[in-house]
Subunit: 385 residues, 2 copies
């Protein structure tokens, strides 16, 4: 059901010729209200794509009527012309929907540096046709139209007490950084103020998408948007809504991890015994970005020395000779030295669990990453993106 699972939303996905394959490549999601609350978080990359520059401004007032997303071109580093493309797309959608252009967000994904007049014409045409095709059951079509190297469409829903959350995502990465552009649209018919929507979205992304780190590369186009229709008429308890939102975001983050380009292992890095949550995140992220560790996991090699070497590059509180490391349940390193024989570790399953106990405190965090494989190199060397 995707983004049309909650009441008050319509969506569509159409083929506008941006993808050479002829697959759907323009999606629109519209909030029919009664509330038009919206919140969004954006890539931390300082080199931001034009749709990000547009959407950042458009989202500031907490009102979002609609969002237009395209695959097949990132419209990034395309200069003033590219910004005008995003602007014109928002204005065209607004005109057809009878709303203000400043309340329409834009997302793009695909090759950086593409965004000429042919691109613009196709995006505008696709936007028109998607709006014509809007449907209360259009969530699945929209989820398919935003796919790039994704092998499956990614959607999630959460049923609250009288309210619903729906969502779709593309990509295999995170807000900062990301393997490939991550675009997420989340909808809900719960009743929330703009301030509540913003706070819930930031809190949920911090512990979900922000902890997905496929390859340490930050996209110029990442955007996560929450649209609130209030159509259920139900005001949820804050804790209950946040929990549901975290569940949806984590579900999508794990789906993105599972579809990461070229990966053969989904690695869950659980850091415990940290002096602070920030320390736990820093340690987990450092390991997640260590190419030698990631290549070892691809080779089913429980190389705990590379884990300790990665921890050693952080500023986290730890004593190298106190740390324990376990892989898939086998403690291969105890107090910074060898423990169980590496032969006991079975790394053949795709799901891989790395447990790091820093023995420095009571805080913890989990980072989601992937291994470094031949296919990753192939996908990212043979094709521009």
């Amino acid at each position: 059901m995707s983004v049309t699972a909650p009441q008050g939303f319509e969506a569509a996905g159409v083929a506008a010729g941006l993808k050479s394959t002829g697959a759907p490549d323009v999606a629109v999601v519209v909030n029919r209200g009664p509330s038009k609350v919206g919140a969004a978080v954006f890539t931390g990359n300082r080199a931001k794509a034009n749709p990000i520059l547009w959407s950042q401004e458009a989202a500031k007032d907490g009102v979002v009527e609609a969002i237009v997303l395209n695959s097949g071109g990132a419209n990034c580093f395309t200069g003033a012309f590219g910004f005008q493309t995003s602007h014109q797309t928002a204005e065209r959608a607004a005109e057809l929907l009878g709303v203000s252009g400043g309340d329409v967000l834009i997302c793009s994904t695909g090759l950086i540096g593409t965004g000429d007049d042919v691109f613009r014409a196709k995006v505008l045409d696709g936007t028109e046709r998607a709006i014509t095709a809007l449907d209360a059951d259009g969530g699945s079509d929209a989820a398919h139209a935003i796919m790039t190297t994704d092998t499956v469409a990614k959607t999630s829903t959460f049923q609250g007490d009288g309210w619903t959350i729906g969502a779709m995502a593309k990509g295999a990465g995170m807000l900062a950084p990301g393997l490939a552009t991550m675009l997420v649209v989340i909808t809900t018919d719960a009743m929330l103020t703009a301030g509540e929507a913003d706070a819930h979205l930031r809190a949920a992304t911090r512990v979900s998408f922000d902890r997905l780190d496929s390859d340490g590369c930050m996209s110029t186009n990442d955007q996560v948007t929450l649209m609130v229709s209030g159509a259920s008429g139900v005001t949820p308890a804050a804790d209950a809504f946040r929990a549901g939102l975290v569940e949806v975001c984590t579900d999508l983050a794990v789906q993105l991890q599972g579809d990461a380009e070229g990966a053969s292992h989904d690695i869950t890095i659980e850091v415990v015994g940290a002096a602070s949550e920030d320390d736990a995140v820093e340690v987990g992220r450092s390991v997640a970005r260590n190419n030698l560790f990631k290549a070892a996991i691809f080779g089913n090699d429980p190389n705990w020395g590379r884990v300790l070497a990665a921890i050693g590059t952080t500023a986290a509180v730890f004593d190298p000779y106190a740390v324990d490391v376990s892989m898939n349940g086998v403690r291969v390193c105890s107090e910074g030295g060898p423990d169980r024989p590496r032969e006991e570790v079975d790394l053949s399953p795709r799901a891989t669990h790395l447990l790091i106990d820093l023995k420095a405190g009571a805080a913890s965090a989990t980072i989601f990453t992937n291994d470094l494989t031949h296919d990753y190199v192939h996908e990212n060397s043979a094709y521009s993106s």
Copy 2:
């Protein structure tokens, strides 16, 4: 001629059975004086191997009589037993050489977590036999004995006005971080005080080994040591000596880059127009660590969008819409937008030049890196190290 090019040094390399291939794996370099000045710089990794923990203390007094190096085992995360192995090796060498154990440095490279009693016995035996084999022409043997995945031995010499610098290196990486452990021994018969040796070494490594960043992974065992015999009786001009040392260190750094595991391109990232040298280094390093950019170069794809995306993750002063990017002499990006067609760029040569003009000032820096290849993944997944 390696480390025995200057007067006052003897060296040897022998096979002690640490390498399963039977290749030489223990090297000794001895300073016969008259001066016994030494200086060393060590990995920035907080998880340091036992030979680093030993050598850091031994080098503090500015006196270095000898250095014992082994391949075939990193003696890292091997606990108190491993530290005692480094200590005993220094004491054994000192006893045979008639010097103090505290003036003998130790270097090890190989798999982390290995360093049992068999390892210790082989290292001690190799140390004895290497000292027996010491020779004023032993520099080449020593350079071969420290190789691990290196395909060629790496040596360099510089002839000053009455004085000489000699050097050997293994690995393909840098002080912080490094692809694999980098061990470097530099010798000179110039007359230098301990303070001068330390200052020259830090200055030279800062602009050479510290700017080599093959894959962003920092070793636990990196060490660069300068040994000063003063046997020429010549006190060089400070500028002249530093220039010679920088030349030797840069020569070795480029040799390490050229032999990096699995690489098919040697990428020179020249950052100009930076507001500060620190900014230039940060930008160059960020690009050097970007897997998507590195995979693109492997695929001969001049993907400048990935360069800008990497710059965008830094804190350097820059405007994304001012930056120029050239690859192998073709400006593919001008002021943050497309310039010359990517088809004009020929990335087939191994030597690859990336020029980034930040347009933010007058500072510059050059970072040396490699591409991300199938062979890199293979070498680092199929074998433990």
